[in-house]
């Protein structure tokens, strides 16, 4: 299996789409922050981690990485499907389980862990530069950021399933974006017409729910108004985030593997 992982990693390193996605995810947050602060040094000095959380920028950064996760996940699972690379791995004597699992591992490393690291960089950079800020609780925010691993994992698994079933990264990306858009529309309709919040139900914007504080209060500190954001975490949120994500991840990957294992390859 390690050989499959090495081979898939090699392919991902050489893929222009993956590199562009990673660079875009890396550059996007700093670009947005630069815009907001009007490229002003004084403006940049006021960007603390709490500012990123409170202004919903952190949520935006993680939300933007959806596209990167879709592209990378589909590439990891599907890019070798259309040109027979997977066939040659099977013909080399690798069990189908190893061929599949190797791709899942690569997809998770590149599409979840690496993306999480990239998304955390603005937090690290601005924490070192300007400090954390008083408006949020560091421990809570860090836990929320770490919890994002689970919905990202679910997103990655969903798109790996689509790419595997369709046998192509391109088709997987197109279908994945289509599903994402459709669900976004459904969620808007549910919210606008039926007053139902379905974020956690569909899960794709579970990440936004984790990173965008729902409550805040204004306090006067040293004569100045300060907004304190409620970033507290309850066990219900943690269990739901982890439990639902893991359950669906296993479901998606199982469905994909069952088809992959049994299907004649062309």
């Amino acid at each position: 299996m390690l050989n499959i992982v090495k081979s898939v990693n090699y392919g991902l390193r050489k893929d222009t789409g993956v590199i562009i996605s990673l660079v875009a995810m890396l550059g996007f947050p700093f670009f947005i922050i630069a815009l907001i602060s009007n490229m002003d040094a004084e403006g940049l000095k006021s960007v603390t981690v709490s500012f990123l959380v409170g202004s919903q920028l952190l949520g935006m950064v993680y939300g933007f990485s959806y596209l990167g996760i879709i592209i990378i996940s589909c590439k990891a699972m599907g890019m070798d499907g259309s040109d027979k690379t997977i066939n040659y791995e099977i013909m080399s004597g690798h069990r189908r389980f190893k061929v599949f699992a190797g791709r899942v591992i690569s997809g998770i490393v590149w599409g979840v862990i690496l993306v999480l690291i990239i998304d955390s960089l603005p937090v690290l950079v601005f924490c070192l530069a300007n400090g954390w800020g008083k408006e949020t609780e560091p421990f809570d925010v860090i836990i929320r950021m770490l919890l994002c691993f689970f919905p990202m994992l679910r997103l990655c698994a969903f798109h790996m399933m689509i790419a595997s079933l369709l046998g192509s990264a391109g088709k997987g990306i197109a279908a994945g974006l289509g599903v994402f858009t459709a669900l976004d529309i459904i969620e808007s309709i549910m919210a606008d017409n039926f007053n139902m919040q379905t974020d956690n139900m569909f899960g794709f914007i579970n990440i936004l729910s984790l990173l965008i504080p729902q409550n805040s209060r204004e306090f006067i500190v040293d004569g100045k108004p300060v907004t304190i954001f409620d970033t507290s975490i309850d066990s219900h949120m943690v269990l739901l985030t982890i439990g639902v994500s893991l359950l669906l991840t296993v479901l998606y990957l199982t469905v994909a593997f069952i088809v992959f294992k049994k299907k004649d390859r062309h």
Binding site: Y10, D83, M91, S92, G93
Partner: protein, 304 residues
């Protein structure tokens, strides 16, 4: 004595209502070069796919290197290499990069092996040129390089000389001979270029409509593609009856628009001619010919 490294018994593959393979049985000896011959859709590629693990048989048994279970077959495949249908290639990578990816998945530790195989197939000077810009012949060579990468003991090749120029065909034929003679590599080759196969193969398997039409050694096929007497007369029907009645000849074929081919009593051509004339049949054409491999192939695959 060479042992059978592949034994296929009653292999059937059904796609819906269509049988791609119907009770196929044959074996492959270690160290042989087997020509798998049949028209498009005959079942050659299906057999190769089943051997390669890409397709699952509906029924029957595949034994490779003594193994019939999945684990054993996968282990057998690690000793083999395959080139089935279009050769493998990632379009946006160069030849070296393609082989590097394959080297990694096969777990080949020696990076120099890439240069060695590229040199063997004459692709060592492609540099950074991506496969997208390769000709068909170059892609074929890359597929062969990939097949050679892991130093296999057994190679299964689907139309390996497809797209190669005449010089390339000779090179690859010599390479196969060398691999077989010097390293005892067993080869299964499917091809439509029968003249090439006849210069290379030690054994032949004819297949059509998913069924084996015949299996021959090189010697048996040479004997089958033997000489015959070609006769054309003004009344071939009467001539056929006379051959049986007067000359006790039974091994002959009546070929529409071509006359009669007689496969026995090759030294009695004069007597046959005299007999026909004496019985009122005028021989228009009478000569000794030989069955070409193409003719034999057409005969084999046209039989129901």
């Amino acid at each position: 004595m060479s042992e059978n490294i592949v034994e296929i018994s009653n292999l059937t593959k059904q796609y819906g209502k269509q049988k791609a393979l119907d009770g196929v049985s044959f074996s492959i000896k270690e160290g042989s070069i087997v020509g798998l011959i049949g028209p498009n859709g005959a079942g050659k590629t299906t057999i190769m796919k089943i051997m390669g693990g890409l397709a699952f048989p509906t029924s029957g048994e595949l034994k490779m290197y003594g193994a019939t279970d999945e684990k054993g077959l996968n282990h057998a495949r690690s000793r083999m290499s395959f080139m089935i249908e279009t050769p493998y290639a990632k379009e946006k990578l160069s030849a070296k990069e393609n082989l590097e990816k394959q080297r990694l998945q096969k777990g080949i530790p020696d990076k120099k092996r890439i240069e060695e195989v590229l040199k063997t197939v004459n692709l060592e000077n492609t540099g950074k040129k991506v496969v997208k810009n390769f000709s068909l012949g170059m892609r074929q060579r890359l597929g062969l390089a990939n097949a050679l990468l892991g130093k296999p003991e057994f190679m299964v090749l689907d139309e390996p000389i497809n797209g190669l120029d005449p010089e390339g065909i000779v090179e690859i034929r010599d390479l196969f001979r060398k691999l077989n003679k010097e390293e005892n590599i067993t080869l299964v080759i499917s091809s439509h270029i029968l003249s090439e196969l006849s210069l290379l193969c030690t054994d032949y398997v004819f297949i059509n409509h998913g069924r084996i039409k015949g299996t021959f050694t090189e010697q048996e096929l040479k004997a089958a593609c033997s000489e015959y007497i070609q006769i054309n007369t003004d009344n071939n029907e009467k001539a056929s009856s006379l051959l049986i009645e007067k000359c006790k000849i039974e091994k002959f074929d009546v070929i529409k628009d071509s006359g009669i081919r007689i496969y026995e009593k090759m030294d009695e051509i004069r007597d046959i001619s005299k007999m026909l004339y004496e019985n009122g049949v005028i021989p228009v054409e009478i000569a000794k010919n030989a069955v070409s491999l193409e003719d034999y192939y057409m005969k084999m695959v046209s039989e129901v």
